[in-house]
């Protein structure tokens, strides 16, 4: 009976208290989640932010903290890729600068929007809704693409991509972008960067899944510089999103981000190694199904009547 009761006497499993989220988590589970998403990133070259943030929310991390901390995680997971592409000179720094400028402004707008919605109690609904739309879109596109590849639908030999840039060079301030061999106005890259920046600020994603198609199909950039330039933009924009979330909302949990970084690094390395050996199309279909499942779960939560009639939050 003379045992000394200490504050940690109730500790059952491994627990780590997150200083900003103000809750204990099992660090191994968070690391495993980071590794699982990192694995997919390494295998498919997707950023993974769009899966990580909903997973964190399902685990019970407050959505606001999930978004802020995931932004910090994406900085870590994109910076090394961006550095490698800079060394290989596969970044169009000129267009990149405009994408970053638009993106930084977009991220700031996104964080302000985030704060506005949070003050009105609508941020959780908004984040969930935004994810339903984007995951639904990305998931069904991926599924369609991989199914096409699996049943080996003969690809129509794509006609040589003709660059349609006349409308962009007709816009004001048209200038020459040497690395991409384009003569266009900086307004389209600014706008593309801005849209992705808003997503980054509100949803805690890098936005590569929007940015890359936009660079290829709208800006008509050569594919050789697309990946490098998008990583370049994502690193800067998520960095600004992280700082803004920390400053405006105080929702960046660096301990949570560190756990995700550890898991992500391990997972990505395994993903890269395994991805080279495995049959990609089936796996891509599987990833698409995971994405759609996450989307459906969020959709059900939004549309089914909540179990409790009120949402309670301690201020």
């Amino acid at each position: 009976m003379e045992k000394v009761l200490r504050p940690d006497a109730t500790r059952l499993s491994m627990q780590l208290y997150l200083p900003i989220a103000e809750m204990p988590v099992d660090p191994l589970i968070i690391i495993a989640m980071g590794a699982a998403v990192g694995f997919l990133s390494g295998m498919f070259g997707v950023g993974g932010g769009f899966l990580m943030t909903p997973l964190l929310i399902f685990y019970g991390i407050p959505p606001a903290v999930a978004v802020g901390s995931e932004a910090a995680h994406i900085v870590a997971s994109s910076v090394s890729g961006a550095a490698a592409h800079l060394r290989r000179r596969t970044v169009d720094l000129q267009i990149g600068a405009f994408l970053v400028a638009g993106g930084v402004f977009g991220a700031l707008v996104g964080v302000v929007l985030f704060r506005y919605l949070r003050d009105r109690g609508q941020i959780d609904t908004f984040i969930a809704l935004a994810y339903v739309v984007f995951l639904g879109l990305v998931g069904s596109l991926m599924l369609a693409e991989s199914l096409r590849a699996i049943i080996r639908e003969p690809k129509k030999s794509a006609p040589r991509r003709r660059r349609r840039t006349a409308w962009m060079s007709a816009l004001p301030f048209a200038m020459r972008f040497r690395r991409s061999q384009l003569y266009i106005s900086p307004i389209p890259p600014l706008l593309v960067g801005f849209s992705v920046g808003v997503l980054s600020g509100v949803m805690g994603v890098g936005g590569g899944f929007i940015l890359i198609p936009a660079m290829i199909y709208i800006l008509q950039m050569p594919t050789a510089v697309v990946i490098g330039t998008s990583l370049f933009q994502i690193t800067f924009v998520t960095a600004v999103a992280t700082i803004s979330h920390a400053a405006a909302n105080k929702t960046v949990d660096i301990v949570l981000a560190a756990l995700l970084i550890i898991g992500g690094v391990i997972g990505a390395q395994l993903g890269v190694r395994l991805g080279a050996r495995l049959k990609a199309e089936q796996l891509r279909a599987l990833l698409a199904l995971v994405v759609i499942a996450v989307c459906l779960r969020l959709l059900f939560e939004l549309t089914l009547q909540p179990a409790a009639p009120f949402r309670m939050e301690a201020l």
Partner: protein, 259 residues
């Protein structure tokens, strides 16, 4: 430590009236560090009696209530807009961050509801209803439609579900000669701030004595350092987070490139 505490309590109680209760806590400072997953504290007390013979323990009832720092809880009634359920306008309720009630027997067996209510040992939806504050004209209209007691009842139900309000009976461990111990479990999400522990002594369904102790829950070590940094200098903290992420990302890539 425990013996000293008990001896001190007996000394305090000695100078007091016929039936009296005095309490002390094993810890009056709870530290939240990286390993924090809730805390257990023991509330020690002594009941004194100047009646001759053996201590009539079975005649006494004890109820203790531990209250966390005052917190504003924001309740938003869910509303269906087209297909989607979204939280509606804000209704705020002031209440302790946690409320733990611990007693010898279920409270209704100890005393009558009016007495329990006047001692604030039970929180009724009716009493709490006066403290529901609508935060906008739309919230006021919503509150009028719902009825304040219903909002208060929903708050109490949700707080119980999250174990912010917990009632436990049969948890007072009587030792010899009127000494007793109550183990109090603070939840992992217990808020930081100042807490009070109040103990009531009942005999024949009447209050005979009460005593109060206080404790603080605070963040220490690295938890405190991060929290303070993030809240006092948020911009610098954000920049530090980015610097950490950049270094971690580059280091990890470098480490794997070599291997």
């Amino acid at each position: 430590m425990r013996l000293l505490l008990a001896a001190a309590l007996l000394l305090v109680a000695d100078v007091a009236a016929a039936n009296d209760v005095a309490i002390a806590l094993t810890d009056d400072l709870i530290d939240i560090d990286a390993g924090f997953s809730g805390a257990k504290i023991v509330l020690f007390g002594v009941v004194t009696s100047d009646e001759p013979g053996a201590f009539p323990q079975h005649e006494f009832d004890i109820a203790a209530i531990v209250r966390g720092p005052a917190t504003t809880f924001r309740m938003r009634p869910f509303e269906q807009r087209r297909l989607i359920w979204t939280p509606g306008p804000a209704l705020d309720i002031e209440a302790p961050g946690v409320t733990l009630t611990l007693s010898t027997r279920p409270l209704p067996e100890i005393a009558d509801p009016p007495l329990l209510d006047s001692l604030m040992l039970i929180t009724s939806a009716e009493r709490l209803a006066d403290d529901v504050n609508p935060q906008s004209p739309r919230a006021r209209a919503r509150l009028a439609a719902l009825g304040a007691p219903q909002v208060a009842a929903a708050f109490l139900a949700e707080a119980r579900r999250r174990r912010l309000i917990v009632d436990s009976a049969g948890v007072v461990d009587f030792r010899k000669a009127g000494l007793f111990a109550i183990e109090v479990a603070l939840p992992p999400t217990t808020p930081i701030g100042d807490y009070t522990a109040e103990v009531f002594l009942f005999r024949n369904r009447q209050l005979v004595s009460r005593d109060l102790a206080s404790l603080s829950v605070r963040k220490v070590g690295i938890e405190s350092a991060f929290y303070e940094f993030a809240h006092r200098r948020p911009l610098a903290y954000g920049v530090a987070c980015v610097a950490f992420s950049v270094v971690a990302g580059l280091l990890a890539a470098a480490a794997f490139r070599r291997s």
